[in-house]
């Protein structure tokens, strides 16, 4: 056991740090400063900013760190990917865009795609010239992905697709989407699904944006009306798309970046607690809050080392897919408690939204309180499903659903 990093890894860390120190100077003044007015996350200005930053990361070779070199990646280890995520979070730097493309579509194409698909798609994923969305779940099939109803019928060299996908992330601005469709309605549920690459600009694709309850309005519903998708866009074997989608994606499972993000949140809270007095005493000395604060730190540290243990398993080539859910469930529910704690600390100010006079940190805590109810326990895979997987595939209990 050794928590020290190898000289090569340390060198990489130094490289990242050096690059960040150099390049973060160019970030706009509002970045990471809730007190300085900046553009909305949904605005064109913000979009322009994030593509500018992505390009810098890309040019420096920090996009697709663990992707093979032959596909434009750095060909580095998952440790280096984890290190990079950690440093990014530690420095509170913006990350790359095209998250679905880099983290999901790309690795799937690398693992199961044709040579043509690799050549056609991979370079533009890393460069973010083409943005990807994920169109798996449907209004009637969320937790139970095998229940999708969107149909694809073969017609000559194409699949003709009809159906509806929801929610599909930032589909409005996507050029391509990874898509699950039913190609054999008579087969057992899991065995009649295919995995396609969908041109979002194709005729018959209609995108309707909607808002989440935290105000994020970048998410979409996608309607597919006789959309023709060439058979060359099939990934893996026909009717085995469910297994392509569930297949081991070698994304880094340490969650180290997220853990550092939590540390940042806690450190920000400590600052707030130190400068806020109640009954003539800073909140940081309030014994009740201290217990809660410490508990959040403890959970953060526990998750950090759970993540590193998971990463070690991954590096050894062990199958960590089901086991990673141990950390994911904890992280999902833990961040909700942390955000609830954060907003309780600021008392009545917790009600004030972005743009309001007197809003603490321009409503940051309110927004993140709301956001914590989405992805952490639902959007990133419902905790109920994750617990099912832990019970069945980690503990070997019988199926419970």
């Amino acid at each position: 056991m050794d928590f020290n990093y190898s000289p090569q890894e340390e060198a990489f860390r130094r490289e990242v740090r050096g690059w960040l120190a150099e390049n973060m100077r160019e970030l706009p003044p509002w970045w990471g400063r809730p007190d300085v007015p900046g553009p909305d996350v949904d605005s064109d200005e913000y979009r322009h900013f994030s593509f500018w930053w992505h390009r810098k990361l890309y040019d420096a070779g920090f996009v697709g760190i663990a992707w093979p070199k032959e596909y434009g990646g750095r060909g580095a280890t998952l440790i280096e990917q984890a290190l990079f995520n950690e440093e990014l979070a530690r420095h509170r730097a913006p990350g790359p865009v095209n998250v679905i493309g880099i983290g999901w579509a790309g690795p799937t194409i690398i693992a199961a795609g044709t040579e043509e698909q690799k050549k056609r798609f991979l370079p533009k994923i890393l460069s973010a010239e083409e943005i990807w969305a994920q169109a798996f779940s449907e209004p009637g099939a969320g937790s139970d992905l095998a229940g999708i109803q969107t149909r694809a019928v073969e017609d000559g060299d194409d699949f003709v697709v009809n159906g509806q996908k929801w929610p599909t992330g930032a589909a409005e601005r996507a050029d391509w989407a990874i898509l699950l469709v039913r190609t054999d309605p008579d087969a057992p549920r899991h065995r009649g699904i295919s995995y396609l690459l969908l041109d979002m600009h194709a005729p018959g694709v209609t995108v309707r944006p909607f808002r989440w309850m935290d105000g994020d309005s970048s998410n979409c519903e996608v309607f597919l009306d006789n959309v023709r998708i060439p058979k060359t866009m099939l990934v893996g074997k026909k009717n085995l798309g469910f297994y392509v989608a569930m297949g081991t994606l070698e994304f880094e499972r340490s969650q180290l970046g997220a853990t550092v993000g939590r540390e940042n949140i806690i450190n920000d809270l400590i600052r707030t607690m130190k400068r806020t007095e109640r009954d003539g005493q800073p909140l940081s000395q309030d014994p009740v809050l201290r217990q809660e604060l410490a508990q959040h730190w403890i959970e953060t540290k526990v998750m950090k080392y759970m993540g590193l243990r998971m990463l070690t398993s991954q590096l050894k080539g062990e199958a960590t897919g089901p086991k990673a859910n141990l950390g994911f469930v904890m992280a999902g529910e833990s961040i909700q408690r942390l955000q609830d704690f954060a907003i309780r600390i600021i008392g009545p100010y917790g009600q004030l939204a972005r743009g309001s006079k007197h809003a603490v940190d321009n409503g940051r805590w309110l927004r993140s309180y709301l956001t914590s109810r989405g992805v952490p326990t639902i959007g990133g895979g419902p905790v109920e499903i994750k617990r099912n997987i832990i019970a069945m595939r980690v503990l070997g209990l019988p199926r419970s659903y």
């Binding site: 779940s137 209004p139 009637g140 099939a141 969320g142 937790s143 139970d144 229940g147 929801w166 929610p167 909607f210 808002r211 989440w212 309850m213 105000g215 309005s217 007095e277 109640r278 009954d279 009740v288 909700q336 609830d340 907003i343 309780r344 008392g347 009545p348 100010y349 917790g350 009600q351 004030l352 939204a353 972005r354 743009g355 309001s356 006079k357 007197h358 809003a359 309110l366 309180y369 709301l370 109810r373 989405g374 326990t377 639902i378 959007g379 419902p382 905790v383 109920e384 617990r387 099912n388 419970s400 659903y401």
Partner: protein, 381 residues
């Protein structure tokens, strides 16, 4: 011992339910959140015609002469559909203390108007520190002949922008304890020197910053006794806490019913999701918390109606419980609904947000637990 609504209360509840389902759809709630005024004058008028504003005031002042408990029956239904507007500020935060502590003249001047819906009123209490303690009252009222001059800033004042009267909690003196020297002053909202700005909130509820610059208020507008206002404030807070509990309990029941219906109908893996214990037991836990909330809130409302010596402790017990309950139930409701429940368009999020503001209003769980601890140990902290 009979722990159930009486016949009139059941009728009141039923008619309120029917009326509000028709007159206060979620469309209105969403509109009013975005609307500057924050309430519908037509609906306000109808509520007045139904006698709801006058419910807890004696007939001699134009009221209906019902009890505080009867009021909470209506509040529960209002909370169920999230009626927007200054009902609680007008009736509970201002009207009730005027009735309890006002002079005959003050009562005659204000309560009939409150009862018939022509007067909107509110309470200006919190300041920059955001604390409910007497020590946090620092807006000053200084004597100037027959007037007081008020200077300072109040925060989080509900509906001050549409209020005709603002009941202000100010400091007029410094005693041995911080409780001494607190005075309640009835201020005409149109008095020169008052500047109101609506803050942007989570729910669209209209909480205001109210700045008093050299505001002159006649001495005759003192509510109760000069420097002795803290006792009245405490009673206001108790009643407001229980009113908020009724509101929360109504909303939580809507969430529970909506979530159970969803769990019955939504399919996954070929079965209704309610047939999975992860969902079924979550719903059971919600039901337990809600049943507890209904029970403790009704008790606290009864205790206030009866001036029971335990009323204040009961209010804290109820508010501590309901604050956590509403938040849990709203969160569980979203979790059971999955992504659907997390959308802006689904009504659940209105409740989830309201659960947070209701938790904060009139003291959160921690605040009331400390009050309960003081009560049961007989020791402050």
């Amino acid at each position: 011992m009979n722990f159930s609504l009486n016949e009139e209360q059941v009728m009141l509840k039923t008619s309120a339910r029917n009326f509000l389902e028709k007159e206060c759809p979620k469309r209105l709630v969403r509109e009013m959140a975005a609307n500057k005024q924050g309430y519908s004058p037509e609906l306000w008028k109808k509520l007045a015609e139904l006698g709801w504003m006058g419910l807890v005031f004696p007939e001699e002042y134009g009221g209906v002469g019902s009890t505080f408990l009867d009021l909470t029956v209506v509040l529960e239904e209002m909370g169920r559909v999230l009626v927007p507007g200054p009902f609680v500020p007008t009736v509970v935060l201002a009207g009730r203390p005027i009735l309890a502590a006002g002079t005959e003249q003050q009562k005659r001047r204000l309560i009939p108007g409150i009862a018939n819906g022509s007067i909107i009123a509110t309470l200006a209490f919190l300041e920059a520190g955001g604390e409910l303690a007497a020590s946090a009252i620092n807006v000053r009222g200084t004597t100037h002949g027959e007037d007081f001059i008020i200077d300072g800033t109040k925060l989080f004042v509900p509906d001050a922008h549409v209020a005709d009267y603002i009941l202000c909690v100010i400091r007029t003196g410094d005693g041995v304890s911080k409780e001494e020297g607190v005075t309640l002053l009835l201020v005409d909202a149109k008095t020169v020197g008052i500047h109101t700005e609506v803050l942007k909130t989570l729910t669209g509820e209209k909480l205001c910053e109210v700045v008093f610059s050299n505001v002159m208020v006649p001495r005759g507008n003192i509510l109760g006794v000069l420097g002795n206002g803290w006792q009245i404030v405490q009673r206001i807070l108790d009643e407001a806490a229980v009113a908020e509990c009724a509101w929360m309990t109504g909303g939580a029941q809507w969430i529970l019913e909506t979530t159970v219906n969803y769990a019955r109908e939504r399919l996954a893996f070929g079965q209704p999701i309610g047939s999975f214990q992860a969902v079924a037991h979550r719903c059971a836990n919600m039901a337990i918390e809600v049943e507890g909330a209904i029970s403790i809130t009704q008790y606290a409302a009864w205790a206030i109606s009866e001036n029971d010596p335990e009323a204040s402790a009961a209010a804290s017990v109820a508010k501590a419980w309901c604050s956590e309950m509403y938040k849990h139930v709203a969160g569980d409701g979203i979790q059971v609904h999955g992504a659907t429940g997390f959308t802006w368009d689904h009504d659940l999020n209105l409740y989830f947000k309201r659960a947070k503001t209701s938790e904060i209003a009139f003291g959160d769980g921690r605040y009331h637990r400390e009050r309960v601890a003081a009560y049961i140990t007989g020791e402050g902290n």
